[in-house]
């Protein structure tokens, strides 16, 4: 995702990563992975629940998922992974931008 981040920015779209973890853990991951996009700490997993992806794989975490949201707040495209490595490619997301 990091390697394609600039392409999203060029398309006027912000990429936001959400992780069910404390902000301390998220900060640590960000420093190690050196990601430029915002990484958010959904420590109480309320957002993951609202998007229907919390605990999908029974690990108390958010399932791998991606949502493309247009400026009207509509989910125009989504992908919910069925296993831990079922993640959508960045190129696929770029093709789904509104």
């Amino acid at each position: 995702m990091q390697s394609h981040y600039q392409e999203f920015k060029d398309a006027g779209t912000e990429v936001v990563a959400l992780v069910v973890a404390s902000i301390e853990k998220v900060d640590g991951w960000c420093k190690r992975a050196k990601v430029d996009y915002p990484m958010l700490a959904d420590s109480e997993h309320k957002v993951a629940e609202a998007y229907g992806v919390y605990n999908l794989l029974g690990q108390g975490l958010a399932g791998p998922a991606a949502f493309v949201v247009d400026t009207a707040g509509r989910v125009v495209w989504s992908h919910v992974g069925q296993h831990s490595s079922d993640r959508v490619a960045a190129q696929t997301l770029l093709e789904q931008l509104p």
Binding site: M1, F8, G12, T13, E14, V15, V16, A17, L18, V19, A21, I23, K25, V26, D27, G28, W29, C30, R32, A33, V35, P38, M39, L40, A41, D42, S43, H45, K46, V47, A48, E49, A50, Y51, G52, V53, Y54, N55, L56, G60, L61, A62, G63, P64, A65, A66, F67, V68, V69, D70, T71, A72, G73, R74, V75, V80, S84, L93, L97, P98
Partner: protein, 134 residues
Amino acid sequence: MEQKNLPLFLVIFGAGAVVVAALGFLLASLVRGAGAPAPTSTPVTPTAYSTPSPVASPTPAPATDTPVSTTDTSESATGTPVTATETPAPTPNRTIPEVAPDFTLEQSGGGAFTLSEQLADGPAVLVFFQRGGG
């Protein structure tokens, strides 16, 4: 003579017909009687097959036992509800929303991120990671 012989002939013919009919009835009844044993033996076999059915009906009996165990299950389920009530709590929602729920969360490096504020500037791609650095 011929007029006298004609009724006699009719009487003889009629009597013969009655005898033939009686013999036919007798034969038919004998055939039925002889056929009866055969069907009787046939039912015996079905009875033998229907015996397994009773054996099968004991299976329903275990099925009757199963309801009992079902009742046990419901009893244990009655004890479980507390756990069952707790279990759905972490997974209340499995539907993908058509409208993205707004949220505000802490972001790495400090500060807060609010989706609706971002959408005022442009679209957003929300990516849920199981762990950081994905």
